[in-house]
């Protein structure tokens, strides 16, 4: 196309030619690459199983059955998806600013602990709604401050947020253990060191007709809200500018530090809320069971969803299903529980590798644009 522009530039003229199929081809990249990554990791995992002498087909059939096959497995899946939604948000929101936060697990643990701890003096007198309300706020505050600190460290002292958030996870677990095995240990429970249970009357109930607690619904709503925040508000716009090009954000006088700290605090609050729901809907108390790896699986969810809050929901359910099938796989195939972790790990590595292919595969580009 001999376009008669007065400023001949390659890019403009090729994009001028872009019609609908061209646009479709470009956006197809964002669907095809993650799907390919899923398939490749499935193949790699099949090789792993074959080496163990197990049938890959049998495995995937069991995953399907244990995760999505029956209404019971669906509910099991959804219960596991709920915390993943929150912890994935903990990765996705800072990712808009170009921050890679991998310590959501720490915020979850501390959020759950703070919720359980603040409940202790209130259990005897507070009405349920007040108790749960205070617990939720405590959980969010704890998580928010925790990851907010990571953002502040990054902005004001230049500390790498990825490493800082990971190391702070270990501190969070130590804080939990310190109190649960010490000052806040419930003496009436001789077995596992835990905080005092909030009591079954105070627990968050399930969505009627299911075994799934309300946390999932809250998570879905939160995804919607945060999607709006990141895409329909000046805050989200400013965050996108800062994440896309820090220098441009600075030259526009945008408060980059504030954006970083606030985004991290929001992220931490999401993970803290996951901890709150684990305590208030599942365990009824805080103990070492809070460290269940949801925070780390959330990283995988967010990356698979390309940090889009709306896509996080289906991806969380997908990975929740894989986790839910772990027990069935263990029983039927005589494989250790950690097998599904191997699958998750493989998925994550392949997803990270697949990130490098965006914009490089020629089928998604205008022809010959090398």
């Amino acid at each position: 196309m001999a376009d008669t522009t007065e400023t001949p530039g390659f890019a403009v003229e090729t994009s001028m030619a872009s019609d609908l199929p061209e646009r479709f081809r470009r956006s197809a990249e964002f669907v095809v690459i993650p799907l390919l990554a899923l398939i490749v990791s499935g193949i790699l995992f099949s090789v792993f199983l074959a080496l163990l002498g197990k049938s890959p087909v049998g495995f995937f059939a069991l995953v399907w059955k244990g995760g999505f096959g029956t209404s019971f497995s669906w509910q099991n899946t959804l219960v596991r998806a709920a915390p993943l939604v929150f912890t994935a948000l903990c990765v996705a929101i800072p990712a808009r600013l170009g921050l890679v936060i991998i310590g959501g697990e720490g915020a979850l643990v501390l959020g759950g602990f703070a919720a359980a701890a603040i409940a202790i003096p209130m259990i005897d007198w507070a009405p349920t709604f007040l108790l749960l309300g205070v617990m939720a706020i405590a959980g969010m505050l704890a998580g928010g401050i925790w990851i907010g600190c990571v953002g502040a460290l990054r902005h004001y002292r230049g500390v790498n947020e990825t490493i800082a958030s990971l190391l702070m996870f270990y501190i969070a677990v130590s804080i939990l253990n310190f109190f649960v095995e010490g000052a806040l240990r419930d003496p009436s429970d001789p077995n596992k060191p835990s905080t005092r249970p909030i009591g079954s009357d105070n627990m968050i109930g399930v969505i009627p007709g299911t075994d799934v607690h309300w946390g999932l619904l809250v998570g879905v709503l939160l995804c919607g809200l945060l999607y709006l925040l990141m895409n329909r508000t000046t805050f989200g716009f400013a965050a996108q500018v800062a994440g896309g090009n820090l220098r441009a954000a600075q030259s526009q006088g945008l408060p980059v530090g504030k954006l970083m700290v606030v985004s991290c605090a929001i992220a931490g609050a999401c993970a803290g809320l996951a901890g709150f729901f684990e305590v208030a809907a599942i365990h009824g108390k805080a103990n070492a069971s809070l460290v269940a790896g949801y925070g780390f699986t959330g990283i995988l969810v967010s990356f698979l969803a390309r940090h889009n809050p709306l896509v996080i929901i289906p991806v969380a359910i997908f990975l929740g299903g894989i986790a839910a099938s772990g027990g069935l796989v263990q029983r039927r195939m005589d494989l250790p529980d950690a097998t599904v972790l191997v699958l998750q790990g493989l998925l994550f590595v392949v997803i990270l590798v697949s990130e490098t292919f965006y914009g490089r595969l020629s089928i998604f580009q205008s022809k010959g644009e090398a």
Binding site: M1, A2, T5, E6, T7, P8, G9, F10, A11, V12, E13, T14, S15, M16, A17, S18, R232, T233, T234, F235, G236, F237, A238, Q240, V241, G244, N245, R247, A248, Q250, S251, Q252, G253, L254, P255, S366, K367, G368, E369, A370
Partner: protein, 513 residues
């Protein structure tokens, strides 16, 4: 290649010819049947605007691209260059616009590691002796044992050329080699190269857009426009007007805006003793004090890397101000959003995709950076409404003639001139009191350059106080009312434009004043 071979340098220049070279990218013919003949031992200039196909042509010659059609002759024999290594083997080397040396290594180390046959264990005593012998054969003098980071731009450029000679490349492609040099350094380097071509030791193909360099140093010239050869010949047979007409073609170039005399000059922007560090926390600018009045353009000249970019970064909030203060209308100013709005401070710079735009965001979004948090895009606090953003972008795209397929196109897909026009639209469409501009025309085509310079002049005539940092001395000579020269982080020279001239400024740039 051995050093012994390097030593026999007589009449070793190579001639290169392309025949019907065509390169097609998707729907774009970047090169269309380009045949050029660079005779051995000549200095050949390749002229053309940005996007005319100069880089595509030399990349095909260097083996970075494979031409769709056409072939290349080296010393009249067909030579195929499937990759850059093959080009090197044929003796074709390239010096890039930006330095490719390792800053922490010395010149000697840079030269030795550049060789393809560097041994695993390097005998430095032997290498150094060989290097000294090699240097004897060239007119370029560079200190061998100082880390490259300590060399001046001129020395680095000489070292880049030396590296190619050391690798025994006898056909050198230079991509705008003087853009980082002072006028004196440029003359020295080109003069030496010219002498080597006259001695038959070297053939030069130089990409440039400076007519002065073409007329002073080149034997032959080829002009490209939109991928075609539109003119070629001996430089002595062509006038600058001929060459410039070939380059631009029929495109209308905007007349430069006339300078309107400003009756009342009020002090607008004052920089009082600014200090800042560079990324290595070493002093980058020291005691910068300048005064700019309304309706006045202060041009800051200087060789790249003397603190200009740090100064711009301080003024636009990208770098911490260590000491000193900025005043606008005698009030203290900090580059924060509310103050930028209150004092109507705007700015733009070279490489907008790196400095002031977000490449992945759309044209509409990039155009809204100044306005996204104000009505109508933000009808109430915190909310963002995409419809008015798109509407506003459409108006600006029309008013500033930005060529883009739609408002939603990622801005990185636009050509350089159009990106800069989009940024101009964003920064200049409102009332401007203070304008901070850095190398606004860097890498742009004539039409865009004329347009942008006219816009800057227009803002001046409307009463804006303008700080213009430029590495292009001609730009400053054309636009500025007053000129200051930056050298090693300080203002080394200041004068009203009427009371100085090119040579004086050029000497000040080199640190002589």
């Amino acid at each position: 290649m051995s050093v012994a071979q390097v030593l026999e340098t007589e009449k070793r220049a190579i001639g290169v010819e392309t025949i019907g070279m065509t390169k097609i990218f998707g729907n774009l013919k970047a090169l269309d049947d380009v045949s050029i003949r660079v005779k051995p031992g000549t200095f050949h200039a390749l002229l053309g605007e940005n996007g005319a196909g100069k880089s595509t042509l030399v990349k095909c010659m260097m083996g970075f691209y494979q031409p769709t059609r056409g072939e290349m002759l080296v010393n009249d024999r067909a030579g195929s260059v499937p990759n850059p290594r093959a080009a090197h083997a044929l003796g074709i080397g390239m010096v890039y616009q930006h330095f490719t040396l390792v800053p922490s290594l010395t010149a000697a180390e840079n030269l030795v590691i550049a060789r393809a046959d560097t041994p695993t264990v390097i005998d430095w005593g032997k290498e150094r002796k060989a290097l000294k012998a090699f240097l004897e054969t060239t007119p370029f003098k560079v200190p061998l044992d100082v880390p490259v980071s300590g060399l001046s731009a001129g020395e680095k450029q000489k070292l880049e050329i030396l590296k190619q000679l050391y690798l025994d490349q006898r056909f050198l492609i230079l991509d705008e080699p003087t853009s980082v040099l002072t006028p004196d350094e440029a003359d020295e380097v080109l003069g030496l190269l010219r002498a080597m071509t006259e001695a038959g030791e070297l053939t030069i193909l130089m990409i440039t857009h400076k007519f002065r360099e073409v007329t002073a140093y080149a034997d032959d010239v080829t002009v490209l426009r939109r991928g075609r050869v539109v003119g070629a010949g001996r430089v002595q047979d062509l006038s600058v007007a001929d060459m410039s007409r070939m380059m631009i073609g029929e495109t209308e170039i905007r007349e430069s805006a006339t300078r309107v005399e400003q009756p009342l000059k009020k002090l607008k922007l004052e920089l009082a003793g600014l200090f800042a560090d560079d990324d290595e926390e070493l002093p980058a600018i020291e005691a910068i004090s300048l005064k700019i009045h309304s309706g006045e353009i202060l041009g800051i000249a200087g060789v790249s890397g003397n603190g200009q970019s740090e100064l711009i970064e301080v003024l636009s909030g990208q770098r911490l101000l260590k000491h000193g203060r900025i005043f606008i209308d005698k009030q203290p100013y900090e580059p924060q959003r509310d103050q930028m709005d209150r004092f109507k401070v705007f700015g733009f710079s070279e490489e907008p995709l790196r400095n002031v735009a977000v490449p992945r965001m759309s044209v509409a979004e990039n155009m809204a950076f100044r306005t996204f948090d104000k009505a109508p895009i933000s009808p109430f606090r915190g909310w963002l409404s995409p419809m008015p953003m798109r509407r506003r972008a459409k108006e600006l795209i029309t008013a500033y003639r930005v060529k883009t397929p739609s408002t939603e196109e990622p801005i990185e897909n636009l050509s350089g001139g159009n990106v800069q026009r989009a940024i101009l639209a964003r920064e200049l469409s409102g009332d401007v009191d203070v304008l901070i501009v850095a190398n606004p025309c860097f890498g742009l085509d004539f039409a865009s350059v004329a347009e942008i310079r006219a816009q800057i002049m227009e803002q001046r005539n409307k009463g804006a106080a303008i700080l213009l940092v430029s590495e292009d001395l001609d730009e400053i000579l054309e636009l500025a009312d007053k000129v200051a020269v930056m050298s090693e982080g300080r203002i080394s020279y200041q004068s009203a434009m009427a009371e100085t001239d090119r040579a004086t400024i050029g000497h000040a740039m080199a640190g002589h004043h």
